[in-house]
Structure formats: C-alpha cells, structure tokens
C-alpha cells in the first residue's frame, strides 16, 4: 500500500534538508580524517623511537 501524499512530501523535504549540507558533511569528515592521519603519524614516530 503506497504512502499518503502528505507523508511522501515530508520525506522529500527531509531528504532535501539533508542534501543541503552533504558537502559540508563530507568536508568536515575529510578534516577529521586529516586530524586522525596526522596524529597517528606522529604516534608511530613516538613508538619507533
């Protein structure tokens, strides 16, 4: 049984709101990966010295 038109519209709006910041999300996640990579790099240096 298909959803009522109102519910479907709400879901579309929600999806649109999500997409509105998808670029932001990817950007900060890349930032986070950089933080992790640089930290691990120096930690490895600490371990091998």
């Amino acid at each position: 049984m298909t959803q009522a038109p109102m519910e479907e519209h709400e879901k579309d709006v929600e999806k649109e709101e999500e997409n509105e910041f998808k670029g932001t999300f990817i950007a900060v996640m890349l930032l986070g990966l950089f933080l992790i990579a640089s930290w691990v790099g120096v930690w490895i240096l600490f371990l091998i010295r």
Binding site: E17, E18, F21, K22, T24, F25, V28, M29, G32, L35, I36, W39, W43, F46, I48, R49
Partner: protein
C-alpha cells in the same frame, strides 16, 4: 536546540576520535610506563655541582645492559663525564637518565629520540630510554638560556 543531523554525526565522530586519542596515550602512560618526564625529586641548584650524584656526571653500568647516565647542565655546557662530550652506549641498552641544571632552565633534547625534557633549577629530571636504534645522536639545549644557548651540545653514540 536544533542541531542538523549531519552536525550531530560529525560531533559524535570528532568526540569519539578525541576519546580514542586520550585512551591510547592514557594506557601508554599509566599502564605501559610511558609517562611524560615528571620527576618530583628536588635539589639545591647552588650545591648541585658539589654534591652527589651530579658531582660525578657520566655513564655507569648498573646491570645487564642497564645504565645510569648522570648529566649536569649549565650555561652553556653539558657535563656528561667525558672530556670530548661523547658518550657511547651499546645498542639495546636501557639507560636511566638523570639531569639537572645549576643555573637557568635548559632543555635536554636528544634529537631523533623521545628523550626530551626540561631541566629546571631545583629539580632533577629523569627519563628512562631504551636505545633501540643505532646512530649518532646530538644532545642539545632547546630552551633559551642566554647568548651561548646554541653552543650547548654533546653527543650520544649508540654502537652495535
């Protein structure tokens, strides 16, 4: 307060990452003996050069592949107990380093190793290092101590 779903995810991810960092360094410090140098033993800086142990700086063997290295720093010199300023240590040796300063603050950095601590008048600084890697390492002062600061150096040779 309304926070966008992506921001919530990001902040959770970030906070967990920081917690992981804290856990890794915490376990390494408190359970595996890798605390930052924090010796609490005090000394009278005016008498350091004349009293034990800093009246006789140098390398002493105290066990099987275990050594004590006592160093007295002053402006602008590390007394490592060797006239040429070169200390030889066998590869794989565990060395308990003990150092202090008789005047101002000096750094105690063995470049290329984790030996890096502050020498502050009135305090003994200690660090135990296992010299896993062969090589010639420069011991130098990395805290400004006057016009001769950049002349303070000694050498540690880790030999096979």
């Amino acid at each position: 307060m309304n926070m966008h779903k992506y921001e919530k995810i990001w902040l959770w991810f970030g906070t967990v990452t920081l917690l992981v960092f804290l856990t890794v360094v915490g376990i390494s410090a408190f359970y595996m003996g890798n605390q930052p140098p924090s010796c609490a033993v005090t000394i009278d800086p005016a008498k350091a050069a004349k009293e034990a142990p800093f009246n006789e700086p140098g390398l002493k063997q105290i066990g099987d592949n275990e050594y004590q290295l006592t160093v007295l720093a002053s402006a602008f010199h590390y007394d490592v107990g060797e006239p040429d300023g070169i200390v030889e240590i066998p590869k794989g040796a565990t060395v308990h380093i003990s150092a202090t300063t008789s005047d101002v603050i000096h750094g105690f950095e063995l470049a290329g190793t984790n030996v890096n601590m502050m020498l502050e008048p009135g305090y003994i600084s200690t660090y135990t290092n296992t010299f896993k890697n062969e090589g010639t390492f420069t011991l130098l002062c990395n805290e400004y101590c006057g016009t001769g600061h950049q002349t303070m150096a000694a050498t540690i040779k880790v030999v096979d």
